[in-house]
Assembly symmetry: C2
Homo-oligomer: 180 residues x 2
């Protein structure tokens, strides 16, 4: 349903109920500075289901950069745009996963996101302005044989999204220098 | 310095001090569900410097997906991995921007990130477990003709990063259905 193998989905839920340890994941990324505001991440391995994952034959590679107005040459989207991408994707996947476990079939989902950011904060020019997004708006267009009540239910499912939690709540970030 | 045009950099800082309005940005993304945990974002236009940006000839396109253990086929990195990519890139760019305004020349920067996530929260199997990352670790390897004090200073610069703020603090996210 909705592109999920529901037999596998319910099987996974049962397996986690029996052995909660398999629910613990560690995701990873490596990043390397190239020049100015341009840098590159490689993403491949992760831990989950009590083992190192070996399903990926090659790494995902993504470049962060900046547009000219932010002193770059558009070698990639910028980091705060990647946050919008992650948020949209996670809220959508969460909606569709919950839709599938609740037996709601959906035809199409699209979303538009807008994030407001005043760079005076980040540049240290005005300490009263926060460094990150002041707010993010996301609007969904959901289509299918669905009542208004079901569409509202689908919308509420998105709040279980991990990235929604990461963005709307606080995550501790420990930063350090690697020892030589 | 460090790949930044410092004349342009200081010019930008002066321009914002004179006209704070140009510091207001709105970044955007559009996302479309494909199937199951697979969806695609397109990112192109944004508002900043008191106008719509026209520097990008084509959109950036990124796919979110999941590995088999999370019911996908690795059509893309997953959303929480994109968060690590965004965080690494933003902290690195911020470090290098501040290094440049402080006259510190750096040869290379690499970082490794790890994020711990227990999917029992997200799946609604254990309400005591949060849905997003429980914590994120990021370690930097910085090289150049630098003292230990300077390396620590560079490390502290990363805390001004917009994505660091977004992840470690709360951002309000307004979600809604598009009206037909």
């Amino acid at each position: 349903m909705n592109g999920f193998n529901t037999e596998q989905l319910f099987g996974t839920l049962d397996a986690i109920k029996e052995t909660p340890e398999i629910a613990k994941f560690q995701f990873r990324a490596n990043n390397k500075w190239i020049s100015g505001g341009h840098n590159r991440s490689t993403i491949k391995g992760f831990y989950g289901g009590c083992q190192e994952d070996i399903s990926r034959n090659k790494s995902f590679v993504f470049d962060n950069s900046e547009p000219p107005i932010l002193l770059g040459n558009n070698e990639g989207a910028n980091p705060v745009e990647f946050v919008l991408h992650a948020l949209a994707g996670c809220m959508t996947t969460t909606m569709m996963l919950y839709a599938s476990t609740h037996g709601i079939e959906v035809e199409s989902v699209e979303s538009k996101l807008e994030g407001d950011l005043d760079v005076q904060g980040f540049l240290g020019l005005d300490k009263t302005v926060r460094n990150g997004y002041q707010n993010i708006g996301i609007s969904f267009k959901i289509e299918g044989n669905l009542s208004d009540v079901q569409k509202q239910e689908l919308l509420q499912f998105t709040n279980n999204s991990p990235v929604f939690d990461i963005v709307t709540n606080k995550v501790p970030v420990n930063f350090s220098l690697q020892q030589d």
